[in-house]
Symmetry: C2
Subunit: 201 residues, 2 copies
């Protein structure tokens, strides 16, 4: 079986896994620097030292590289911080969004969000990325339900969406400044709504 | 004074105003069809029948055309619907977002959101557009305060952001499906949070 030549094949530690890691890193670096419009197989090849014919053969092209980079982003072991309360956990989830999109590394994730406007495949990969992220964030909500902080029927993913959406809205829609205070307020608002609905129900 | 040759000069009904109207319409149509990357002065000139040297002289180029189109978007008389309750008004504001970005005309506003990723001037124009939109939506919140539905110290713009942000998040970040039920839920969540905070305060 020629598994090693199939994009997305996971073999941690192998030669293919190492190649994939450098290609993914180069793809994200190129994307952050030049945007989707400036992302080329040649640029990625030059940056990571893997021959472009290898990239074309294994990733197909720019969209294949970008989608694999997004798939790889979920290979990490990221989980929401466990602060002991859902208020703290949700605040941290929201703060990570602000940090990620305003810090020095912001051009990379911002370019990924932008690429989805220009490529259907990138949009689908982004959808997949956030679906996994949502499920991981739901772990914090499940902990809160176990502790009796939230009602058992809370919609965990919707709570997470409500907590982070105003930050993305400021960043990419209304183009307003965004800071950690906005993160704290968005998280508190999302929880206030869930608790109010539970009390009424 | 050569006011007529200054972009953004408002003289409703005059020759300049008519020219501006057809140029703005052509700019938005080109943007919706080809995106920011495919927006050219030549394409706009061809579509509206105004000579490209006129466009270059009065608008400077692609970014000038796009920014003026965004400025012009706020020359309308749009105000949030007055349904008699803040619940109804906020639901309508949220539903308009869903209708605007999922209906047949969706490519135009979506392309404007996308353009802001590629042009600082477009981002600034988008920020200006939403600042005006926010102020207009605040009218509905002021009505609610007058009726005693909401506390006087409610942050009107933040309430509006909370009601619409989850819709933009689904559309352009997590790339999830979005429908009128999502609009209704987002509006209800935003109000529940404001009311819960008021009751505690």
């Amino acid at each position: 079986m020629e598994d090693e030549n199939t994009p997305g094949t996971r073999r941690p530690g192998g030669r293919t896994a190492r190649t994939r890691a450098v290609v993914v890193a180069a793809t994200l670096a190129e994307l952050g620097e030049y945007g989707y419009g400036g992302l080329t197989v040649e640029g990625v090849a030059r940056r990571c030292g893997v021959h472009k014919t290898t990239l074309y053969r294994r990733w197909g092209g720019v969209d294949g590289l970008l989608c694999d980079a997004l798939d790889a982003a979920n290979d990490d072991t990221w989980l929401p911080a466990d602060t002991g309360t859902i208020d703290g956990d949700l605040r941290e989830i929201a703060r990570e969004v602000v940090r990620g999109f305003t810090g020095p590394q912001a051009p990379v994730p911002s370019a990924v969000i932008a690429a989805a406007f220009q490529s259907e495949r990138a949009a689908a990969a982004l959808r997949g990325f956030f679906a996994v992220r949502h499920r991981r964030c739901a772990v914090a909500v499940a902990r809160a339900v176990e502790r009796g902080e939230l009602p058992a029927d809370v919609d965990a993913v919707d709570l997470v969406r409500t907590a982070v959406a105003p930050l993305y809205y400021r960043l990419f829609v209304s183009r307003e400044p965004v800071g950690l205070d906005d993160a704290d307020r968005a998280a508190a608002t999302a929880l206030a709504a869930v608790r109010a609905t539970a009390h009424r129900g």
